[in-house]
């Protein structure tokens, strides 16, 4: 599904060059559930952002669904990204001023989906995550777990081929975290959703099919479970 070849990322501040990622080579096939682990500052989130095309590598080649991402123009890249990738964040990043319903609906607005179809899709999603009763609440009225559920629903509503999650349980208690992980696992197994998550927790990483360990910007190990 995606392939990274010799990907490096560094920041230059004056003469000081800070390397964040160095010579990353990674292939992820469709249907995989990859967990990226590593200590703080090892480059996990940057790697995830590069995979998600939110960030650009300083060097290297990147292919997504056989498209050479490094050669694409901004517009083509965002079209590719928009059509295929869903994002889930540690801090949920729901829009405070919008209700649960509107939050889930937002990506559809940017995919130019008609009103009737939007209603059906959001209703499906609310149903699937059993949050129909909460659709008119605002994020601040929900628990962290519920907010993350909304965040995932929002990510899935455009039916992405790849779901990226940056410490999705980081702000949750363990019970809520387990529920989210169960959900991910179910998505992966039952629907064949490709998932890449960044996590600190061994336990959460174990839900996946492969664990990649990052250290100081390089892949230290990659093992299938």
């Amino acid at each position: 599904m995606l392939s990274l070849k010799n990907i490096s990322k560094y920041h230059k501040a004056g003469s000081l060059k800070t390397t964040i990622l160095q010579n990353i080579n990674l292939d992820v096939d469709a249907g995989e559930f990859v967990s990226i682990m590593g200590p703080s500052g090892s480059g996990k989130s940057t790697l995830l952002n590069i995979i998600g095309m939110l960030d650009e590598p300083s060097e290297g080649y990147q292919y997504f669904l056989n498209e050479p991402v490094h050669q694409l123009k901004d517009k083509q890249r965002s079209a590719l990204y928009k059509a295929n990738i869903g994002f889930v964040f540690q801090a949920y990043h729901l829009i405070d001023e919008l209700t649960v319903y509107e939050n889930i609906e937002t990506p559809l607005l940017y995919h130019d989906i008609k009103s009737g179809e939007r209603k059906a899709l959001v209703a499906d999603m609310l149903d699937r995550f059993q949050i129909v009763g909460k659709k008119d609440l605002f994020p601040s009225q929900l628990s962290g777990g519920q907010q993350q559920l909304v965040g995932i629903a929002r990510a899935l509503i455009v039916s992405p081929k790849l779901l990226l999650a940056d410490e999705p349980t980081g702000n949750l208690n363990s019970k809520q975290g387990d529920e989210i992980m169960e959900l991910f696992s179910k998505l992966n197994k039952e629907e064949g959703m490709t998932i890449i998550q960044v996590t600190h927790s061994e336990k959460n990483a174990a839900y996946g099919t492969r664990i990649i360990n990052l250290l100081d910007g390089t892949i230290e190990s990659s093992k299938n479970i």
Binding site: S45, N49, L54, D55, S78, Y81, K82, F87, F89, Q90, A91, H93, L94, I95, D96, E97, T106, P107, Y110, H111, R154, V158
Partner: protein
């Protein structure tokens, strides 16, 4: 303590340079506009008040009531009234007659001047105590053949030599001896004479023989000075019916004598139904309101930017409160800051006003300066700074100081967000004012254009007008022949008034269709030579022009369409009418198309044209291909030959015509300038607010971008809110502006009707300006990398 506050305030200014600049520039433009308008208003109110005893000085006026035009007020009075007022009313200290500030030729040695001066009664300078540099106010105008010059006139005629006792020849006829020198009149004086001569001199001139006893010759001005301690209110009922009781000839017009205090001359010159209803004061009020509005807009900017930025200050407030600062200390601290900003803004405002004043004076024709040496001015300015600082700083001060320290320090308080609604209301208030100003400007210009588009009824192109002296009247035929021979002019005629003005009114007392109840008709009267209509391009609709032989047409007249309509004449040609300036009847030989000789904003009044063999205006039209400059030079030489005592002075009719719009054009220009500045200040504020909102919504924008929003969509998201506010402002501003302008337009008989177009266009303009202002920030926010904005947890 205050030192600490000032220091903190200063550091805060430096810390947020862009924001401080935005604040100071906005506030200084606002303060500058208010200061400029304040100076102008003060100048308008200062008119005529520099004279001693202004409170006791009055101009006498009279209200006439007519069936056709209702009650109207005029300054032109008959002389017997002066004697009655002087002799029979002990409440009145002095009375002075005056003619109308007329233009005369002044010759001294080889110096020729042509300038305005008045003849006035002997007590004039005792009433209006314009300072004399030489001579005594009681005696300078005693001798009939004396003249008092202003300093600059004296200098122009005699250079630096002492003018007293020297001779000035008036109109190439009469020698007058200089008896006094007046200081030049200040610019804010309603009088504008350059020299004074005794009224008795006017009485020696031809035609005024029995004026001092004739109640029917309303041709002069009268001024009166009341005794100290006498109030006009008490005197008014006693003088009201003097003319009715003593002047039988005027009785049918129901004359009521009234007086207007000198301090009201300049600002309250419009009379309706016999009472002053306003005048220039309307514009003074209008611009005072505009000045206050612009200042308010600037203060609102300050409030909005300060509260919007409050998140940055919240921590400071929390720390200070935690350290034991009382709320009142904090309020005081923030107010110190705003006063400091107001002070810097004021300094900049003074610089701006100083730079703008020359242009402003050019526009208004005033001589306004900043009175740097006046301690009262500085006192007022200090209050101005304090007041502006407090006004602008009040809301931020109370808002910021209200923060709960625990919440603020924990970071749970959403400082700044709670103030959104009041901030929106303030933005709407700002833009309502700005949009109302835009609408007003457009409508004022539409009204001007509307009147300009009105057909004049004559052709002002290449038409030249010049005053005629006795010499020119005597040499008219020779002048005409010589001018025509040059091939530089198409035609020449003479008349009793320029084509762009009406100098005199008479009455038509009887006409064929007159019914028993009809009163006589007040009619504009122009005495013209033959060739007049051809020269000015006024079409004769029926009948014929005067013939070249004056004697054949002495009892023939032409009238305009309005006169025909007023008299209700059918088959006008050869009808005979009675006219109070002619013995026996006069015969109508032609009807002329209505022409705008008076105000372009009023209906054309009835006019009568009679044949004359002299005139005080020469009117001639240059040929189409003549070079104006060289033509006028050549024509000037011919005029000099036949008119040696006078300098060659002329006016182009199109200039004279355009002068009719001077007041309206001035109002339009000022409204336009202030509207632009108001918009500018509002936009500065909007710019700052947009930056703030973009900053506050950084996270949201990041999320939306991650969810697939394009740059256009983010831009639209950020701009929509502001557009909405501006649209609401347009909805508020439109009826407000409509109301004010509708009232303003009532002044004009000939006016536009306000259509929806101007409101729609103004709204579109406001939206475009807003988009332009907001887009910079919105696009910047939209382009930002979402990874960065979502990173900091």
């Amino acid at each position: 303590m205050i030192k600490n506050y000032l220091k903190i305030a200063w550091l805060n200014l430096l810390k947020n340079k862009a924001y401080s600049l935005l604040n100071i520039v906005g506030l200084s433009v606002g303060m500058g506009v208010a200061l400029l308008i304040g100076l102008w208003v003060f100048n308008e109110y200062s008119y005529d008040r520099f004279l001693p005893d202004t409170d006791q000085l009055y101009q006498v006026k009279v209200n006439f009531t007519s069936q056709h035009t209702g009650k109207h007020t005029q300054d032109a009075l008959a002389l017997p009234l002066a004697e009655v007022l002087k002799k029979e009313y002990p409440e009145i200290k002095y009375v002075a007659q005056s003619d109308w500030n007329g233009t005369h030729g002044l010759i001294a040695g080889n110096k020729k001047l042509y300038m305005d001066g008045s003849t006035v009664g002997p007590d004039f300078l005792k009433m209006f105590q314009f300072p004399l540099i030489k001579g005594n106010a009681g005696t300078v105008l005693k001798d009939t053949y004396s003249i008092v010059l202003t300093q600059s006139t004296a200098k122009a005629l005699f250079g630096n030599t002492d003018p007293i006792g020297k001779v000035v020849k008036i109109d190439n006829q009469t020698n007058m001896k200089v008896t006094g020198v007046l200081k030049d009149l200040p610019a804010n004086s309603s009088f504008s004479f350059k020299y004074l001569m005794p009224f008795s001199f006017t009485e020696t001139q031809e035609g005024w023989g029995n004026t001092s006893t004739n109640w029917g010759n309303n041709s002069f001005q009268l001024f009166a000075m009341l005794q100290p301690e006498v109030s006009y209110e008490k005197l008014a009922p006693k003088i009201k019916w003097i003319i009715r009781d003593k002047g039988a000839v005027m009785r049918p017009s129901k004359p009521e004598v009234i007086m207007q205090p000198m301090k009201d001359w300049h600002l309250y010159s419009d009379y309706k139904n016999g009472v002053p209803v306003g005048g220039f004061i309307d514009y003074v009020r209008m611009f005072s309101i505009i000045g206050i509005l612009v200042l308010l807009i600037a203060c609102i900017n300050f409030m909005n930017l300060s509260t919007a930025r409050s998140e940055k200050r919240a921590r400071e407030v929390g720390v200070r409160k935690a350290m034991g600062s009382q709320r009142s200390y904090l309020i005081f601290q923030f107010l110190t800051e705003s006063v400091l900003i107001a002070f810097f803004s004021f300094v900049l405002a003074v610089v701006l006003v100083q730079l703008a004043l020359p242009y402003f004076n050019l526009l208004t024709g005033d001589l306004i300066t900043i009175p740097y040496n006046n301690p009262v001015f500085w006192l007022v300015m200090i209050s101005y700074i304090l007041l502006t600082g407090l006004l602008a700083g009040s809301r931020p001060a109370f808002y910021l100081s209200s923060f709960n320290p625990v919440k603020v320090l924990k970071g749970t308080a959403q400082a700044g967000k709670t103030a959104t609604l009041p901030r929106k209301i303030l933005v709407v208030a700002q833009f309502s004012c700005s949009v109302a100003l835009i609408i007003s400007t457009v409508i004022v210009y539409q009204q001007i254009q509307h009147a300009k588009d009105r057909p004049a009824g004559y052709d002002t192109n290449r038409l030249v007008m010049a005053d005629m002296s006795d010499d020119l009247n005597g040499n008219y035929d020779a002048l005409k022949n010589e001018l025509m021979q040059t091939g530089l002019i198409e035609n020449i005629a003479r008349a009793s008034s320029p084509v762009t003005d009406i100098y005199s009114h008479t009455s038509v007392t009887n006409w064929p269709q007159k019914t028993a109840g009809d009163e006589s008709i007040n009619i504009a009267t122009i005495r013209i030579s033959d060739n007049y209509f051809k020269t000015v391009g006024m079409p004769i609709l029926q009948g014929r022009d005067f013939s070249s032989s004056w004697a054949n047409d002495t009892s023939n007249v032409l009238v305009n369409e309005a006169a025909v309509a007023r008299m209700g004449l059918k088959n006008q040609i050869n009808q005979e009418i009675s006219w109070n300036t002619a013995v026996g009847k006069v015969r109508i030989i032609g009807v002329v198309k209505n022409a705008l000789m008076a105000s372009p904003f009023t209906p054309v009044e009835p006019a009568i044209f009679s044949h004359a063999n002299r005139g005080n205006q020469a009117l001639y039209r240059l040929t189409a291909n003549a070079n104006t400059h060289t033509a006028m030079q050549k024509i000037g030489k011919i005029f000099d030959k036949y008119n040696p005592a006078y300098p060659f002075v002329y006016r182009f009719a199109d200039d004279a015509y355009n002068q009719k719009f001077n007041l309206e054009v001035l109002v339009g220009k000022l409204a336009g300038i202030f509207a632009t500045l108001a918009i500018f200040i509002s936009c500065l504020g909007l710019f700052g607010l947009a930056a703030y909102v973009a900053e506050q919504r950084t996270k949201e924008i990041g999320i939306r971008k991650v969810l697939g929003a394009s740059i256009t969509q983010v831009w639209a998201l950020l701009s929509t809110d502001f557009i909405l506010l501006v649209l609401i402002s347009c909805l508020i501003a439109s009826p407000m502006a409509y109301y004010f302008l509708h009232t303003w337009l009532q002044k004009y008989d000939y006016r536009i009707s306000i259509g929806p177009g101007v409101f729609i266009l103004s709204a579109i303009a406001a939206v475009i300006i807003t988009l332009f202002t907001v887009s910079f920030q919105a696009i910047r926010a939209a382009l930002a990398n979402p990874v960065k904005s979502l990173k900091n947890e």
